[in-house]
């Protein structure tokens, strides 16, 4: 496999981009429809749940230092672990397909209605496959280069939106049934807060010091940033429109009029959005690829990523028929489905590991058999 050590900043950006990357654009509409003017609280609650899940994953990962999730599956559960590993590979492929589909939906709805979605999918997957071939260093450097640009433009747009801000629209604060609406929007735990489990594939490239803290920081900041985005959206275009539009943020920025000549700022948000989709897609595809590499023992990423992108391009088309189906799926199943990968399997693996180790200790077996994990025990 690849030899690379990411810097802390790069690792943070990877986490943040995976978590915040596409969610900021897709999530606000649905959240506002449910949470009304208090929708900004929901990402915060989701973020807390996300952090708890992340702690679970980190606990699992710390038992197997320098191992990725596929190796953890195989080491902890033996033959059955292969099944879990396959599930995770499927999950990664699915994330890649989702992300690709997000791109296609957006491009077709907003920019080029006549061009078939698969063209967008294939072009992006082609470049993403190239990124995967180039390796994690290239991906993280790309995100390191693009993120400051993306988020500074984001900030600029946010500042511009102040003109249209109306405090009355977010009032009265905390007046709705927050827990009820949180339960209605529980899919926010699945997307985006289970998705950083992708990073479990990259922990072996994590910086030597503070990798875990950075991971948690990335998730926590995502919750804050998402909350801020929702807050701004509510205060700017209002609950009514935000909950009816598919891409409220796009519309919001489309309608900004700074001076008579600074109109039509949607180009900026399109670029940010496409960049963030790309980074997330590249990471998801990379994780899926190296997961397969690990499981099958093929060192060559190129051979894997090409059929994989063909698969992802196909799945991206079939995974949902239209945006409404996405929303329905999101409402009904998303939470339960994501939880399987975010909580059930990691918790199960953790349990197995504990039981195994306890069992082995009682039998007085030497510690070495469990590989590197033992070293961490005191």
């Amino acid at each position: 496999m690849e030899q690379a050590i990411l810097s802390r900043w790069q690792f943070f950006l990877l986490t943040f981009n995976v978590t915040f990357g596409t969610a900021f654009f897709i999530r606000p509409g649905g959240l506002i429809a449910i949470g009304k003017q208090d929708a900004w609280v929901l990402p915060l609650i989701g973020g807390v749940a996300g952090l708890l899940m992340a702690l679970l994953w980190l606990g699992l990962a710390s038992l197997y230092p320098q191992k990725n999730i596929i190796e953890i599956c195989r080491e902890s559960a033996g033959k059955a672990g292969i099944f879990f590993a396959l599930l995770y590979i499927w999950y990664f492929i699915e994330i890649a397909s989702w992300v690709t589909r997000n791109l296609g939906d957006f491009m077709q709805v907003v920019l080029m209605p006549k061009t078939p979605k698969s063209v967008f999918h294939m072009m992006f997957l082609l470049v993403a496959a190239y990124a995967v071939i180039k390796g994690i260093n290239a991906i993280s450097r790309l995100s390191e280069f693009l993120s400051p640009i993306m988020y500074s433009v984001f900030l600029f747009v946010g500042v511009v939106l102040i003109r249209d801000w109306d405090t009355d629209k977010v009032k009265p604060i905390l007046d709705t049934e927050i827990w009820q609406s949180f339960w209605n929007s529980n899919s926010i735990i699945g997307f985006p807060f289970v998705e950083p489990i992708l990073l479990l594939m990259l922990f072996s490239y994590a910086p030597n010091k503070g990798g875990k803290r950075i991971f948690l920081l990335g998730i926590g900041l995502t919750a804050l940033a998402l909350s801020l985005v929702v807050f701004i959206t509510v205060g700017t275009i209002g609950i009514t429109r935000a909950s009816h539009l598919i891409y409220p943020i796009f519309t919001m920025i489309q309608e900004v009029q700074l001076a008579s000549f600074i109109e039509h700022m949607e180009a900026t948000i399109i670029i940010i959005w496409l960049f963030s989709i790309f980074i997330k897609l590249a990471i998801a595809l990379y994780c899926a690829t190296i997961a397969i590499c690990h499981l099958s023992g093929i060192p060559n990423r190129t051979g894997i990523v090409i059929p994989l992108s063909i698969l992802v391009a196909g799945l991206a088309l079939t995974i949902h028929t239209n945006v409404i189906e996405t929303m329905d799926w999101d409402k009904n199943y998303s939470f339960w489905y994501h939880i399987v990968f975010g909580i059930y399997i990691p918790a199960f693996l953790l349990l197995i590991t504990f039981v195994k180790r306890r069992f082995k200790k009682n039998n007085g077996l030497p510690h070495g058999k469990l590989g590197g994990g033992i070293r961490n025990e005191k």
């Binding site: 099958s296 023992g297 059929p307 196909g314 079939t318 949902h320 009904n332």
Partner: protein, 43 residues
């Protein structure tokens, strides 16, 4: 030995990808989520 397994995996991936595409062209897209939904409904 290892190499052979590698080719198998790659071929399998190709087959998977192509079958998804075929299903699209044949007009009956394979939607994995329908399967998952069905599984959830069983519980």
């Amino acid at each position: 030995m290892k190499n052979k397994k590698g080719t198998e995996v790659i071929l399998f991936l190709y087959a998977l990808g192509i079958s998804v595409w075929l299903s699209i062209f044949l007009g009956k897209p394979l939607n994995p989520h329908h399967l998952i939904e069905w599984m959830f409904k069983q519980f």
